[in-house]
Amino acid sequence: MRFKKRIALAVENILANRTRSILTSLGIIIGTATVIVVIAIGLGAQEAIARQYSNLSVTSIFINTGPSVVTTRLSAKDADAIMEKSPSTARVAPHLIGRLSASMGTVTAQASIVGATPIYKDVANIELRYGRFFTEEEVEGNDRVVVLGPTVTEDLFGDSESNPVGEFIRINGRNFEVIGAAKFKGGSVGPVSLDESIFMPFTVAQKQVLGASTRVSLNADAKSVDVVGKAVEEITTILRDEHRLPPSVSDDFRVRDMGSNLKSAQQSSHTMTILLTGVAAIVLIVSGIGIMNIMLVSVTERTREIGIRKAIGARRKDILSQFLIEAVLISLFGGIVGVLIGVGTVPLANYASIEAIQSIWGIVLAFLFSILFGVFFGYYPAQKAAKLDAIVALRYE
């Protein structure tokens, strides 16, 4: 029998039982669409995490003043002590952050003021479009110089790409010279968006802008991924020592390494993806069982037809392929409709502010699985039909 005729025969049978065929493919439609949406959401979650942590390498370590009763604030001195005594730490950048308004002529903008040391540029991966970052000398000299994030540049100068170097802006009633402008980065370090920040020397920020009561944080970098744990231990020991904490007193600071944060975030997104994929797989399996169930009913209903076909010369493989092709066509139809629905749902998910990213391989995977399930679950009923005894089948009422 020609392949084209086989397909035509299967289509004929499917159309003869339209309602049942559609009900059968419904499971596949839902399964395929679910897989596509789940993969898109999984990818979206991974992308969101990647973006959130894009400024941080896995060697980053954050040190904050902790919630202890006996509190010695972190200071630039602590940063020096860590640099001096911790062999596993590559660099330490003390900084303090506050939110203030800055103005340029009559234009005013809200910005995060980040008081930092020159090394902060490397720790936070700041890239400059114009000018330069401030130097150690400027920090020591209490120089009133600032580097602007692109959003601040845009707010004050109208365009994020205009060159503000050499201009003066006012913060807290004082004039500051703009010496640099950063490129767009996206993402943030802790709660601070770098794009919305104004960077200035640590000393100036502490003494003239934010005030001495503003808490200092330290951003450190371990020398490599392997020694992050060691660096955390060393930093803890050094800071306890510096703050003269007796063993009975708990830490008055908090040390978190970004690597483990990133890892746990990635892990939870991975877990979520696996969970959702599991749900989608179950939906597909259930829909496959649905196919099997309805095919079995169909085989029983068509027992006499199978008997007639066998009597006039259909071989086992003719009957097998007839039912198998029907199952595959139904799954194919379900797969195509499922892909359309899935592809249509992903933008809806985005609209409902669930981050979801469409991927070709997600679509291909969902589609292939739907066909695979059609073959897999269609095989048993098809084989049952092929094995029917012609005489028994002919007598079936």
Binding site: M1, E12, I312, R316, D318, L394
Partner: protein, 221 residues
């Protein structure tokens, strides 16, 4: 001339638990080309079982069966299917047409499995021969019993088989329609087809040239 059908000591028994119930005992039947045979006997005599064995729908328990000079006793199920398709045309008491296919599709059905590209004209010609050419696109349920049996006969002939096996072909028809069907068989036979027909009606059996009588699994005449 070589016989179309030759059975030697065909036996068939069914096992019922530990007991073996014989249905056919040492059947020796030779059918020459062009014969028209009626197979008669009371119910339970084994005539349908013999028909199924001759039609390769069933296998004998013992003995040999040659069709067109070829020993087909031990061929595989699929080989039997191919022989049924090309060498044997079946006509059943209950017509056995596919209810969801029209008349033309039903007649073309054996061509679907024959693997050889046959001209679609053949089915139409045969339907014309049985007087059904004006009903090509009707469904079986829209036809009378006699019309359905004509369609079934056309289907049986579409691959030009060497024998036609008819199992009570008039059993579901009134006597006048039955006569019409028998006329078609007679005409086919006069054109050279070998026909074996199971029946329990004497007046139907009279249309055949030879009558083989079975009783309790043995040929008695």
């Amino acid at each position: 001339m070589e016989p179309v059908i030759e059975t030697q000591n065909i036996c068939k028994s069914y096992s019922l638990g530990s007991e073996s119930i014989p249905v056919l005992k040492d059947i020796n039947l030779t059918v020459a080309r062009g014969e028209f045979i009626s197979l008669m006997g009371p119910s339970g005599s084994g005539k349908t079982t013999l028909m199924n064995i001759i039609g390769l729908l069933d296998k004998s328990s013992d003995g040999t069966y040659s069709l067109n000079g070829r020993d087909v006793t031990d061929l595989s199920e699929d080989d039997h299917a191919m022989i049924r398709n090309r060498e044997i045309g079946f006509v059943f008491q209950s017509f056995n047409l596919l209810p969801r296919s029209n008349v033309l599709k039903n007649v073309e059905l054996p061509l679907l499995y024959s693997g050889i590209e046959s001209s679609p004209q053949r089915a139409r010609d045969l339907l014309e021969r049985v007087g059904m050419s004006d009903r090509l696109h009707h469904l079986p349920q829209e036809l009378s019993g006699g019309q359905r049996q004509r369609v079934a006969i056309a289907r049986a002939l579409v691959n030009d088989p060497s024998i036609v096996l008819a199992d009570e072909p008039t059993g579901n028809l009134d006597s006048r329609t039955g006569e019409e069907i028998m006329e078609i068989f007679a005409e086919l036979n006069s054109q050279g087809k070998t026909i074996i027909m199971v029946t329990h009606e004497e007046e139907i059996a009279r249309h055949a040239k030879r009558t083989v009588r079975l009783k309790d699994g043995s040929i008695i005449a």
